[in-house]
């Protein structure tokens, strides 16, 4: 990155539009940013009460005024890329528009300033909302029940695999393995492991989908479940899904569907109809709740009748016009967390679902349409390892560019100079040098074209001016950060000491 990005620009090091640093370096003794009312009861002297358990101060804490704090965080925000500014093609993450009505509704005092242990008769509206969201998700998935408790997708995966295990234990044998395709999200094998199962990987076929012979060979009596993603992480629909679920059930195993890609078929296919027994949904993907820089999410899990006895408690039940929490589920796996899940996220998701109502299939249609349009425009320039029909995303690779020494990471970083966020690169593992692109339904044609134009321009740069791509990004607040240290750490544990916090001054 050059220090002077334009004539007349100050050196990057001193440019306040590009440098902010940590608030711990901007602290001034004696400042404070919050005023409380005068204490209206006798003041207690903490050391007198607590003796040796007393702590006199939190040494090193910030001292700043509201102005300092508001400016600091506003400047920080300006260093971020976000959906609000442009297409965010991060495959599998479904970076769609986050409607602001959802934010307004979630901030109503009757939702945001309500304590989870308020007596049930005083929170009938909150319980009604939970009940209604479960009804909506049941309608869209075809499942018997949906738990809203899991905090995020991975937490939902764990809840689902724990229920699978509980069901097998109740039948007399927990079984030992969970089958996971080699194209799966990394959370799948990790969740299976934490539910006490060993993972058996299934190799994909030449189309990038599940190989039925491979499934047949590995589907023993010790397999508890198959975890499958539809459409898979290549954006390809498992054409044989009905055959697959039939094969799995014939062995007494269950089918777990990773619902990360539900946005590709919401309203058009009910997962339960495909023979799926359990599926989590990422509300921050399909149902538009904000990703917030990495959370909060919410990962409701739908289950078929076989798993209903094992749902986490409490559930919300409706008796006539009254809603109540039920803890009466003797086979329950217990709790995934405190309280009733990420309620504020659930409020946003229901608001989104109600805004579409019975037109929600249009979401899947537009998402698939947009991905196919990008595929059409980019196919001449980037290698497509698997050419099966694409749904909500398309996975190219850097094979054409890698011949000239340029890799997916370089292309990704160069995209930043064109004003776009990079695609996903860390998976699917079966596509080396992956460029996983998911435009979502939010993008108009001109934005798709602008992105495609940028990708095509970069493909040309790879041939004509490869040094531009290698050294990218050139226009961001910082250049590529030295993550060689992370690699060093992987090869030689103990040799790398990352700085994970500000020093105490």
């Amino acid at each position: 990155m050059s220090d002077t990005s334009a004539p007349g620009a100050p050196a990057a090091r001193t440019d306040r539009r590009r440098r902010e640093g940590s608030l711990f370096d901007l602290s001034h003794p004696g400042r404070t940013g919050v005023a409380l009312p005068p204490l209206d009861v006798p003041a207690i002297d903490p050391p007198a009460l607590f003796g040796s358990a007393h702590r006199s101060e939190v040494a090193g804490e910030v001292e700043a005024s509201e102005v300092d704090v508001v400016r600091h965080f506003t400047r920080l925000s300006q260093l971020n890329f976000a959906i609000d500014t442009a297409l965010y093609p991060l495959g599998s993450c479904t970076m769609k528009h986050n409607p602001r009505i959802n934010e307004e509704v979630a901030r109503l005092a009757g939702f945001s300033d309500v304590h989870p242990y308020t007596a049930e008769h005083l929170v009938q509206g909150a319980l009604e909302l939970l009940w209604l969201l479960e009804e909506r998700l049941k309608t869209l998935t075809g499942f018997a029940r949906v738990t809203l408790q899991p905090s995020a997708g991975a937490n939902g995966e764990l809840a689902g695999t724990l229920m699978i295990r509980a069901a097998h234990v109740a039948r007399g044998n927990a079984r030992r393995h969970i089958l996971v395709p080699d194209s799966a999200h990394g959370t799948n094998p990790a969740s299976a492991h934490f539910a006490g199962y060993s993972v058996i990987e299934l190799a994909s076929n030449a189309r990038g989908t599940l190989d039925l012979a491979e499934l047949e060979a590995k589907l023993t009596d010790e397999v508890a479940a198959l975890m499958i993603t539809v459409p898979n992480t290549l954006g390809v629909f498992e054409e044989n899904i009905l055959k697959i679920t039939e094969m799995v059930h014939a062995k007494g195993a269950l089918v777990y569907l990773d619902g990360a890609n539900f946005n590709a078929f919401v309203g058009k296919v009910r997962p339960a109809d495909m023979g799926v027994d359990v599926m989590h949904m990422n509300l921050h993907k399909t149902f538009s709740t904000p990703h917030g820089g990495g959370g909060p999410g919410a990962g409701p899990v739908g289950v078929g009748p076989a798993l209903v006895p094992y749902l986490p408690t409490p559930t919300v039940e409706r008796d006539g016009e009254v809603f109540r929490l039920s803890y009466d589920r003797p086979g329950s796996i217990g709790r995934m967390r405190t309280f009733h899940g990420n309620f504020g996220v659930l409020v946003r998701a229901l608001t989104y679902i109600e805004s579409y109502g019975n037109t929600i299939p249009e979401v899947a249609e537009a998402a698939v349409l947009n991905a196919n349009y990008l595929r059409k425009r980019l196919e001449p320039f980037y290698h497509l390892k698997y050419d099966a029909p694409s749904y909500h995303e398309v996975v190219f690779s850097d094979r054409k560019q890698a011949a000239g020494g340029i890799h997916n990471i370089d292309i990704a970083k160069r995209l930043m100079d064109y004003g776009f966020h990079p695609p996903t690169m860390s998976f699917p593992l079966i596509v080396p040098g992956a460029l996983m692109i998911e435009p979502t339904e939010s993008e108009p044609k001109e934005e798709l074209d602008a992105f495609a134009d940028a990708m095509i321009a970069i493909a040309k740069e790879c041939q004509e001016t490869p040094e531009l791509v290698h050294g990218a990004p050139h226009t961001t607040p910082v250049g590529r950060l030295d993550d060689a240290s992370t690699a060093r750490e992987a090869s030689k544990p103990g040799s790398f000491a990352p700085v994970l916090r500000a020093p105490v001054r």
């Binding site: 409380l36 910030v62 945001s112 950060l481």
Partner: protein, 455 residues
């Protein structure tokens, strides 16, 4: 229309460009037996006008803390959230960004997480903290799993019954399929964990001891005693905190021998929202950093020597290690961690202390009214141990009778222990009362007066 920008003509144009005759063509590999051409059985779409009306009607049926005098706590405390926090959280650059994998265009989020890690480390007295966890219970579970990984093939975790019962239930859920034993140690008559029983429960097979302070009945525990009991047998000590303001006036777990600190940080500006989203935290000694779960942000430099921040030590995580990862979790609790960071920044060292002293003073004022000669009707203090901003009342009449009387005067009086620990018979007549800086003397006087009036 929803939020899809295409006009019908544009949609047709896109279909033409890709050579599809209709949208159905794009779904041709979906088995026809399950492909639905009819719309789902949902109501018609709603405009913002209708959504506002319908959602406000549901919200209006809930007793919120702005209209009621609330003394509800039990692991989630309704503190003041500065007005700017909610407004800055709405900035699209924070709200609509994702996990900062791409550091060059995520310095805002990364810097804020680095600050969050620093705040948590300072408050807990630990060397390092991670980028946040879902919430308190999962943070506690992850702390236990982490301690197990750090141990050499040990199999037992000893936990105090003073740890929030929902944390313990979650621990049972997560550990159900591991060959680990969970031993619970009861509280003594003063409300503190029975120190002798704790020491007796720890042996050479124990990998961790888990304690919460203030504990579920509000009583301040002795970190050092628990840490000593753990260390005597080579186990690690885990300190859980879910009222983080207590750490402005009470010794930090990291300064009193504990090895891992975890819990809930929602006290810092995160609205209760009927229980979520909240923000968990996990902090530990530097030596344990390779076993800490979740995201970590570290300081780094670019090719020109400019300082920045990026995710680090990611080889612990599921997207790289898959089934051998330290945890299956993928995200942190970004936006809520940001809310906590902004709130802590504005409070600062002085605001933290002042808020904590107000909470403590108001709770002690309430306790003094209960202990005074005029008393609190059928209610008395259940435990003599020191408390911060929450205490348990023992009720000589059914707890519901007490709550109904308070409700009639616009007061959400507290959390019945029977609600959070229904199987603990000895706690069925206990009511937990929490006080924060949002409560006024008038509210406390009113509540005490109601208690006195109960026959």
């Amino acid at each position: 229309m929803g939020y899809i920008p295409h006009s019908p003509a544009e949609r047709s144009a896109l279909l033409r460009e890709i050579g599809a005759a209709s949208v159905d063509d794009l779904f041709s590999t979906v088995p026809r037996a399950v492909y639905r051409t009819e719309p789902p059985a949902l109501p018609a779409p709603q405009s913002e006008i209708e959504l506002r009306r319908g959602m406000a009607a549901m919200a209006g049926k809930n007793a919120d803390g702005s209209r009621w005098a609330s003394f509800l706590g039990a692991g989630l405390y309704a503190h003041h959230s500065p007005a700017f926090v909610s407004q800055l959280l709405l900035r699209g650059e924070f709200l609509t960004a994702y996990t900062p994998y791409q550091a060059e265009v995520s310095q805002g989020t990364l810097t804020a997480i680095y600050e969050f890690q620093t705040h948590v480390a300072l408050l807990t007295g630990m060397d390092i903290a991670n980028a946040s966890m879902y919430e308190g219970a999962s943070a506690f579970v992850e702390a236990v799993l982490m301690a197990e990984r750090l141990s050499k093939k040990r199999s037992k975790v000893v936990v105090s019954k003073g740890v929030h019962p929902e944390y313990l239930t979650a621990l049972g859920t997560y550990l159900a399929n591991f060959p680990f034993q969970i031993v619970q140690v009861p509280l003594g008559p003063d409300g503190r964990t029975d120190a002798a029983a704790l020491a007796a429960a720890v042996d050479e097979t124990t990998f961790a001891v888990g304690l919460q302070s203030p504990n579920v009945v509000g009583v301040v525990e002795d970190w050092q005693a628990a840490a000593d009991a753990a260390h005597a047998k080579g186990a690690l000590a885990i300190g859980a905190v879910n009222e983080m303001f207590s750490l402005a006036v009470l010794k930090a777990p990291g300064h009193a021998g504990m090895d891992i600190a975890c819990g809930e940080a929602a006290s810092f500006g995160v609205p209760p929202s009927f229980g979520g989203p909240l923000v968990g935290f996990l902090a530990c000694r530097d030596a344990f950093k390779r076993q800490i779960p979740g995201r970590l942000v570290g300081r780094a430099v670019d090719a020109q020597g400019h300082e920045g921040f990026c995710l680090t030590l990611s080889t612990r995580e599921q997207h790289i290690r898959r089934e051998r990862a330290t945890s299956n979790i993928c995200t942190n609790q970004g936006l809520m961690a940001l809310a906590a960071t902004m709130t802590l920044s504005a409070l600062g060292k002085n605001g933290l202390r002042e808020t904590a002293v107000q909470c403590l003073s108001k709770a002690e004022y309430f306790k003094a009214l209960v202990k005074a000669k005029a008393g609190a009707g059928p209610c008395s203090l259940a435990f003599a141990g020191p408390t911060f901003n929450e205490f348990a009342l023992r009720c000589a009449v059914p707890v519901d009778t007490v709550l109904s009387a308070l409700e009639a005067k616009g007061i959400l009086g507290g959390v019945p222990m029977a609600r959070i620990a229904p199987r603990e018979g000895a706690w069925k007549d206990l009511l937990l009362v929490a006080v924060t800086e949002r409560n006024t003397r008038e509210q406390i006087d009113r509540a005490a007066e109601v208690l006195r009036s109960i026959r």
